[in-house]
């Protein structure tokens, strides 16, 4: 269980501090120089939902480390950074805002528009369905996600895709 905690924290801290999109092949994880010292404390509990009271161990350090890091920065310098990875230039931007009397908060102000893709529609027997999909989501999405094609082609495919309407009656 200690190993789980040791294994999960670098990954989580990397996403909080250094991992920068877009390329997954080029992504960064923390090196020896950058890892903080770490201590594990075992708290024995009985989880009533787990089999024989068992509880998972790996997720523990994974989820709270990003908010903990953001809170630590807020505690230290009073700047709220609402995005990861938290880069030094974001903190500096927050400090400048604070200096100029604005709200020391950096990050996106709204949820981005995301293309969630076409839903797969399967009608129930009561609706007259036979277990097969009533639509073909893949045909509609042709060109949008494919690795081939240029940025321009994909843009056009995406435009066409979002202007089309669902055929669900």
């Amino acid at each position: 269980m200690e190993e789980q905690a040791f294994r999960r924290l670098p990954k989580s801290l990397s996403s909080s501090l250094v991992h920068k999109m877009p390329s997954m092949l080029e992504y960064k994880s923390l090196g020896f120089h950058d890892m903080p010292e770490m201590a594990c404390y075992m708290i024995e509990t009985v989880d009533e939902h787990g089999p024989y009271g068992a509880k998972e161990a790996g997720q523990g350090p994974l989820l709270p480390s990003m908010p903990a890091l953001a809170n630590a920065i807020f505690d230290a310098v009073g700047v709220r950074v609402d995005q990861v990875p938290i880069h030094p230039d974001l903190v500096l931007k927050g400090l400048r805002a604070k200096q100029n009397g604005r709200e020391p908060r950096v990050g996106p102000t709204k949820f981005p528009d995301i293309d969630y893709g076409e839903p797969l529609i399967v009608r129930t027997p009561e609706q007259g369905g036979d277990g097969r999909a009533a639509n073909d989501p893949k045909a509609r999405r042709k060109g949008v996600r494919s690795a081939s094609g240029t940025m321009k082609e994909r843009d056009e495919a995406l435009k066409e895709h979002s202007s089309a309407t669902l055929t669900t009656d």
Partner: protein, 346 residues
């Protein structure tokens, strides 16, 4: 997994044979291969024949220029790890050893060579990606494409110089020897680089970088230099800004000569000429350091072509030039992250 394209690998055991093979065309040189192999796997660089220099005996020697001088000569295929281990280099040019020790990680330093680091390809966010990634943006100016994605209206490529040894060697006044099948020439290192992301070296395609000279002057005891670099992590990452300063003083601490170079800002190491007019004939003071740092910040205009926000990298120029010059002057450091005070670990 990325794979190499089919190539023919030659490993001649004399320099003349290598120079002759290179002159045949559609060829490339490889030494440690830590830059070329990944680049070929991503299809940045193409060649039918790759010529390895590692079989040429004596090309990795590190030694004194001559017995009376304090300068050193380093063969182009000397590995970075061997340069750090070399006592003469560490004692005579500690900031050069520090710069070399800061490059990448120990396994890569065991393979990578100083010649390769001096010739390392310029880097850019829109270039150092896989073939599929680059195809999806219709490539860029550095390779097949028509647009520089860093500055879309720019007629030139803005990829930045990635060598960490280049700025400090330029500051120390190093020279390189270039050998081709038709002859040999010597070039000051600062003239070896051209401020263009695509043709970033003054080296002709048929020339081989064989040796590096770091001159040791008679006032060597009074030469102090410093190297600082900015990157996201304490190892592995390429620098997003590097600062190299060298200052020569006389017995009374009056500066006789001073050089300052910035790396990873332009496509070639960038000289800050103001250091000469501000420092020469004077002692190093806090005011003088502030003036030089301001001048460096004014001319350094990093583009958005690597890690970190470009404007922030520009602002950090002031901090890092100040840190380097304070180290040269022997003043205590202001608040800087401890991991940036690079230690030479052999």
């Amino acid at each position: 997994m990325l794979r190499l394209p089919p190539i023919k690998l030659e490993a001649p055991d004399t320099l003349q044979a290598a120079a002759q093979l290179l002159a045949e065309g559609n060829t490339r040189l490889v030494a440690g291969g830590t830059d070329l192999w990944p680049n070929m796997k991503r299809r940045h660089q193409k060649a039918e024949t790759v010529i390895s220099l590692m079989a040429i005996p004596g090309m990795d020697n590190i030694g004194a220029i001559d017995s009376g001088s304090k300068g050193i000569r380093i063969g182009a295929t000397a590995t970075l790890a061997n340069i750090i281990r070399d006592d003469k280099t560490r004692q005579r040019f500690p900031s050069f050893a520090k710069a070399v020790a800061s490059i990448s990680s120990p396994p890569l330093r065991n393979m990578a060579t100083i010649g390769g680091n001096l010739c390392v390809d310029t880097r850019c966010t829109y270039y150092n990606q896989t073939e599929e990634w680059r195809r999806s943006i219709d490539y860029c100016l550095k390779e097949e494409g028509k647009i520089c994605w860093v500055a879309t209206k720019s007629p030139r490529c803005w990829a930045h110089t990635a060598s960490d040894s280049a700025p400090i060697l330029c500051a120390l006044g190093a020279k390189v020897i270039l050998v081709s099948s038709s002859g040999e020439r010597e070039l000051p290192l600062k003239e070896f680089y051209v401020d263009d992301g695509i043709d970033y070296l003054a080296k002709q395609p048929d020339e081989i970088l064989t040796e590096l000279f770091i001159p040791g002057t008679s006032d060597d005891a009074h030469c102090r230099s410093a190297f600082w670099k900015l990157r996201r992590r304490g190892s592995i990452d390429f620098s997003t800004l590097s600062v190299a300063a060298a200052v020569w003083t006389d017995d009374k601490d009056v500066v006789t000569r001073a050089t300052l170079y910035l790396g990873a800002v332009e496509s070639a190491p960038m000289s800050v000429a103001e250091i000469d007019s501000v420092l020469v004939g004077n002692k190093i003071t806090e005011d003088a350091i502030a003036e030089i740092a301001h001048a460096a910040h004014k001319i350094a205009r990093p583009m958005d072509n690597t890690d970190f926000e470009a404007s922030w990298r520009g602002k950090m120029t002031t901090q890092y030039v100040t840190a380097a010059l304070r180290e040269v002057a022997g003043m205590p450091q202001l608040h800087m992250p401890p991991r940036h005070s690079l230690k030479v670990v052999c």
